[in-house]
Symmetry: C2
Subunit: 370 residues, 2 copies
């Protein structure tokens, strides 16, 4: 969906995008009342391919276990929508796309975007589709940040929100991990000061290191231990060299190598930056609860016990702020040893929680049962 | 101290170093009975400059708070010795040094070394100094691995050992972090397949990223939050760019930049590899306790509550194995929010613990009080 210069997208940086495109996918049917839409917001390296088959990787969509007929996000009941974030690299306008003013890829001339900008762009899609109020907006990690931002900035357009494995602000440790990833990309000579697309380069090595580093933070130590431990990769003995002796090394290298085929390095810079900048309280006189004053939105906050990137404490801070404003909130800390990645995986307690919350809200809203 | 071809150093890889040099520093005086020596073992990026002033950085030695007259490692009572590990880059033979057979820097032709090799090299220094038994051997992190290896491989030459913030084997998560650092170095074109010293390069960017990534793991989330939080660096507002807006970014970049002035990238590869390979149980039929059978050594195992790189669980595994063999062991988990780095910092409970253990053992041993 493309938007022209008649209605530019205003950004938090003060700049405007006079023309922009938003790529999205939908699953299920929007009902006549247009009140059965669930906006799913994707995470840092996710995209709009929530279900179905991913066009680049050929793999199933990242929430295939949750989205489909009879699943918690039941496509027989709901209209599921997911928009590639502004700044992304799967069709929405971002540093990879051509700047119409110059005819060259934006690269680092693309304006720095924020989570609020991502949401502001999504609003335009809803306006276009004639959806006044989302039945729900949800997502994990950066998707959860967007879900929170929606509830805070457009409370009248959100019936329920489900922020999962997320935080109301990015922690110092998480900013630090992002900075390592960015420095890894920028250290790659093929990054060419961000101008690699115009100059025929691609900082594959740097982006791969960034992904490897980040990937460790998505897993838990117990999960790594159970999955790999100190098991060797296709060999009986240590080789006394720098090949991938250990399975965990081989796995990480694979994660790095495959990632660069589907992701743009500059997009990685922009999206990590948007997460770093996220801090709801800062925009409300430093008090998170202020953001939720008189909110009509129903919240279901979910965290995972072994998630050390977005630990339960972050979710508790959100819940505490909501409670301080007597908001409608339920909170579930799901027992899981799968770390931050748990929100992408088959976690029965997580799925049951989500299903219960959505079913209850849908019945209350009077959405037709399938 | 240089050793000639008459007594080559046998390595775990099966290779030998026919000539090698070991650089070391000592503090205090070796007594006539030569029974007051404490061998301090340094960590991954440490070196032999435990006290005094570091010749490269001009900063105080890394354990200056512990080593000196009247301090827990009292130089009026003990002879403190620290050897730069084999494979290191502060004077001991390692990939940075010249291979006498070729006249060129070893680079990646240097044999892969292990923690046991480091200890085997240290034995040669003790032999040379005529020290039959160490009063104590101690260290944090990789230094603790060496302290454990000493007790296991040379129990008759160790009176006491203090493994601090360490583990009997390197975890999958820690191998993963090391692999990211190595890949960051190897991704730098200036690494030149390890041959940068002969070809006039230096993978500064890659080594800097490796250091930044590792540095995060040395700190705790609470320490990062307290020290930096989301505070901005020399600015009032976000700049909507990729400069170091946040103090934590600026701090990390500084850590990376300064590290490359004092460390060799290939050494970083070799020493991380040695840690990855460390697994005492594997060499004792998979049962850690077997390594401690009938040990005469007195152990004092120390961990820190907020250390997530070498969490207390790793120390407990060591203590449990020692208990299974009815060894003489005391164990203290020090309350600290400073993360893995706590072993390098002024932690009163840690210092008191160490002082108490050493004083008791020294009195028992009959070492003259200062």
């Amino acid at each position: 969906m493309s938007f022209g210069p008649d209605a530019p997208l205003r950004l938090d940086s003060g700049l405007e995008l006079s023309e922009f495109t938003l790529a999205f996918q939908s699953y299920g049917e929007l009902n006549a009342d247009k009140n059965n839409a669930i906006l799913v917001c994707h995470a840092l390296t996710g995209d709009q391919y929530v279900a179905g088959t991913h066009p680049t990787t050929g793999k199933p969509g990242w929430w295939i276990s949750l989205v489909g007929p009879g699943k918690p996000l039941d496509t027989d009941r709901y209209f599921i929508l997911c928009v590639n974030v502004i700044g992304g690299c799967m069709g929405s306008t971002g540093p990879k796309e051509i700047n119409p003013a110059t005819g060259k890829a934006w690269g680092l001339t693309f304006p720095v975007i924020t989570v609020a900008d991502m949401v502001r762009a999504q609003v335009r899609v809803l306006d276009h589709l004639g959806i006044d109020q989302l039945f729900s907006v949800m997502g994990g990690s950066m998707g959860g940040m967007q879900a929170l931002e929606w509830a805070v900035s457009y409370p009248e357009r959100v019936y329920t929100t489900v922020p999962i494995a997320t935080a109301a602000r990015h922690s110092a440790q998480n900013i630090a991990f992002h900075e390592v990833g960015r420095q890894a990309i920028m250290a790659d000579p093929n990054w060419m000061e961000g101008d690699y697309l115009s100059r025929g380069g691609n900082p594959r090595a740097g982006l791969s290191v960034a992904r490897m580093s980040a990937h460790i933070t998505y897993l838990s130590e117990p999960a790594l231990k159970r999955k790999f431990g100190r098991k060797l990769q296709d060999r009986e003995h240590l080789t006394f060299g720098f090949d991938a002796d250990f399975q965990v090394e081989s796995y990480l290298r694979h994660q790095g190598f495959t990632f660069v085929d589907r992701f743009d390095a500059n997009s990685y810079l922009y999206i990590t930056r948007a997460m770093d900048y996220f801090d709801i309280a800062a925009e409300h006189d430093g008090r998170l609860a202020n953001a939720f004053k008189d909110t009509p939105v129903r919240f279901c906050v979910i965290s995972f016990t072994s998630d050390w990137l977005f630990p339960t404490k972050e979710s508790r801070d959100i819940v505490r702020a909501l409670n301080a404003e007597a908001a409608n909130v339920s909170f579930v800390e799901v027992e899981s040893d799968k770390g931050h990645d748990a929100f992408l995986l088959d976690e029965p307690e997580f799925h049951t929680t989500l299903q219960g919350f959505l079913d209850g809200a849908a019945n209350r809203k009077g959405l037709k049962k399938p």
